[in-house]
Symmetry: C2
Subunit: 363 residues, 2 copies
């Protein structure tokens, strides 16, 4: 028995080695549904057509070419799924998980749940990776999440030569835009599908669009005009962490009023900044984050006092838990911090959306 098991193990290892991408057919993902887009763009995997919007800060325009929150929807009966994709030559970031920065991850529908299936690790500019293999041959609905922090090109899906492969539908209904910082974009996540807007979409069936702008969610008037120009059923404003206290006081009203003017009945949900864990020790930083959160609350109260309707506020107390282990670096939630954040904000967001009948499509 012992030797049979050992033989079996060796055969498994050999078959894994033999499973190469050159035995697969690759098809451009250009023909497949792209999930999570803010709007149509000339470059398919950009988030925004930045030429349409004048005066965007250069860093914002650059971040909008990152494919954060985008996923390719396809169906296949292949027992193997692979991907090819190209990213920029930008260096690895010391503060990000490489798969989140430039890699991809795959989810497959299991019953009515989207379930993680595998990652594509990044090894250079153009990458070719088997994401999962040795599955059954039933048809599978798939979502391939693209890199959170890089510009992506030439995405292809690889399946077995005899297998079917076709575009999937967009599994998410309606549109909720989340404008925010690196916390929205997904800096501390371990892979693209773990950024919090992606997790919200999968668990609610509502289409949460990632407009996270790492370090650059500062409510500049030109960016506010762009946010307001994007059509959505609701707007989540999670842009406190990057904006200093004075600018919060200066810019919040313009942001909320501009979105309200363009979208008279859409709910607007403002979220406080998580308390930075380093801010417990770094008294200056701690005071600054407290002041940011005081100022955003004051601004929202002022707007409500002026009669702005359909405006909501989510406070951040204990958002990342109370053991101080929910971040990668004192600022960015790790996958644990994101999980706690979702337990805090998701029920509140869903309650608000329900009031406006913003719901997932029925299965």
């Amino acid at each position: 028995m012992k030797y049979l098991l050992l033989l079996g193990f060796c055969l498994v290892m050999l078959s894994a080695k033999a499973q190469k991408t050159d035995q697969l057919n690759f098809t451009s993902a250009n023909q497949f549904t792209l999930v999570g887009k803010s709007e149509e763009t000339p470059n398919r995997y950009d988030r925004i057509d930045t030429n349409k919007y004048k005066g965007l800060p250069a860093r914002v325009a650059q971040l909008l070419t990152n494919s954060a929150g985008l996923a390719i929807s396809f169906k296949t009966n292949s027992s193997v799924i692979a991907a090819k994709w190209c990213v920029s030559k930008s260096k690895a970031l010391a503060y990000m998980f490489p798969t989140a920065h430039k890699g991809v991850d795959l989810y497959i529908k299991n019953g009515d749940q989207w379930q993680f299936a595998g990652i594509g690790k990044v090894s250079g500019v153009c990458n070719e990776e088997i994401l999962i293999s040795r599955m059954g041959n039933t048809e599978k609905e798939c979502l391939l999440y693209l890199p959170l922090y890089d510009k992506v090109e030439h995405v292809e899906i690889g399946v077995e030569k005899k297998a079917t492969l076709s575009s999937g539908s967009d599994p998410f209904a309606r549109r909720v835009l989340i404008y925010g910082s690196s916390i929205v974009q997904g800096t501390g996540a371990s892979r693209p599908g773990m950024a919090y807007p992606a997790r919200l979409s999968r668990s609610t069936g509502i289409n949460f669009i990632n407009l996270g702008l790492s370090g650059s969610a500062k409510m500049e008037p030109e960016v506010v005009d762009m946010v307001a120009a994007i059509n959505a059923d609701a707007y989540v404003l999670d842009c406190v962490p990057n904006t200093n206290p004075a600018l919060i006081t200066e810019r919040t009203a313009y942001l909320v009023n501009t979105v309200r003017k363009k979208h008279p009945t859409a709910p607007i949900i403002v979220i406080q900044s998580p308390v930075r864990e380093t801010g417990y020790w770094d008294k200056v930083l701690g005071t600054q984050v407290k002041q940011q959160n005081i100022n955003i609350q004051q601004e929202v109260i002022k707007l409500l006092d002026k009669g702005i309707k359909d405006l909501y506020f989510i406070t951040s107390e204990n958002m990342l838990g109370n053991d101080h282990e929910g971040t990668t670096d004192g600022t960015h939630p790790n996958d644990l911090g994101y999980d706690r954040m979702l337990r805090h904000i998701q029920p509140q967001i869903i309650d608000i959306l329900n009031k406006y009948n913003i719901k997932a499509a029925k299965n």
Copy 2:
């Protein structure tokens, strides 16, 4: 008021820029208590003196030079804490968070809790980073965790020129050795202090020693002899994931019997492998992990039947939760998966240790 806040913010940013490591005094960490060691070693930040043990596989010997689980204990009243450290020239790993691979993180005692304070990001072979600044000037007990996956040299602690700096005590009592795979060593953690043995030590006050050997915890007889030679009050054997089903059947008895012979009354706790998330889809892998877990359970039952005392078994069902989001890549727990794993194993481990009066020192 608006301009005062803006002025305040600008001053904060300027003072942050002005805070440079050349205004600090650096002291070699060689004179400070080193926490989490298996045994004394000629190279201070190795985990094991591999020359003492004959016939270790080359990869095992190399991994034992990684500083996984080691932390420097010191005290200071400085308002700034910095570190210098050197790692190898090995390339960044596509499957690890850079701070966990080659970086450091700092915890400071807050009341009776160890609380995260900051990280040192890796930027090259030798690194110099301010971990936290702008704190109060009271004395602080500190733990600096070293890189999980690299060999470390020349560690120095930097504090303000006028500040005190001295060695701390080892805050953890007794010794529980954890022999295991990459999951023990900490592959999916976002920083060194998030590896699960480190979290166990901080939350229980008991000294859990990280003998994680990424991909190489295969119970080879030479490695078993080394594990048994290390003195500890209890032994946790979390070595199923790297060992194929046949080898589990072949080698488990020798591992348990050898540890038992050297340590007649020490509790031995065997842990099943977490179910690999990719194994849900990859039927061959899924079957293999199930077989690993069946075989280890059979071996433990056989040993118990033969009358081995003080042997315990922890099953892995739902260890990483049931939403399939607890890994970075389908195999390695992310910080969320580790948190769930700890909720599963920690109460069971502590119950067992309590029976043997293996407890934290009183404060």
